[in-house]
Symmetry: C2
Subunit: 121 residues, 2 copies
DNA sequence: TGAACATATGAACAAGTGTTCATATGATAA
DNA sequence: TTATCATATGAACACTTGTTCATATGTTCA
């Protein structure tokens, strides 16, 4: 049976009920879409891509990245905290210096979920 | 020679010049990063992911999508224009109805660039 | 302990984003 | 032509985001 309890925000008439019903059965869950778009959003900033791209090559401290990208230490630090929250990077402190690297394990996990795959050229 | 003409926004001392220099040589260009992050940004919204996910299954008109997602026609239309600009979808008009589908050719082109790959589960 | 330094973090701000509302456009049919 | 309908679009709005500035935290060394 077609759902009739839904609130109709669409002010036009449904043209293809079969199509709508077919697609409905195979849509990813709202949670899944939310999670996936959240991940894409993290990749959707040049600074964060820069950081990830650099860390792909080598572990680095905040100061290294600030120098390399010619950006303030604060800005890098803020973006690193976003990447930390997304569990894309991890870090370890050695004295005053904090070294960041890719969180390979979680990144692998993301790819294992099968929704996306980033490969080198 | 290490670049010395750059403006140093970083208020700390470089810790690992070798690392910085090494990574610098292999960084994607600013343009490439801008382009890639722009693409990710388009994927970084649940509504747009919904639309793409649906179109992956079947061509649909705006009204179908508005009904399926229980959203206003206007909102869908605005998002479709974003996807159109990113050349992720194309469309053809049949009378009053406009049908949208994935722009397979450009999507393939994106994957061919080798930076990302989205696969089905 | 206190100075020096790498990093983190909160507040402020400008710029960008997604939705809604009202309305325009473009097509059909009477 | 006029009414109707599907879609597009501009303006307004609340909300989010990325950077900067000032300052806090944590560590080392004298």
């Amino acid at each position: 049976m077609t759902q009739q309890t839904e609130i109709l925000k669409c002010d036009c008439n449904v043209i293809h009920q079969e199509v709508v019903d077919l697609v409905r059965t195979t849509m990813p869950s709202q949670d899944k879409l939310q999670e996936l778009s959240q991940l894409f959003k993290v990749f959707g900033d040049p600074t964060r891509l820069k950081i990830l791209s650099a860390l792909f090559k080598s572990e680095m401290c905040v100061c290294d990245m600030a120098t390399l990208f010619n950006m303030t230490q604060s800005s890098i630090s803020h973006q690193l905290s976003v990447l930390k929250q997304a569990r894309l990077v991890n870090y370890h402190r050695e004295g005053k210096v904090v070294y960041y690297g890719l969180d390979d394990q979680h990144i692998q996990q993301i790819f294992d979920q099968g929704y996306l795959h980033i490969q080198e050229r």
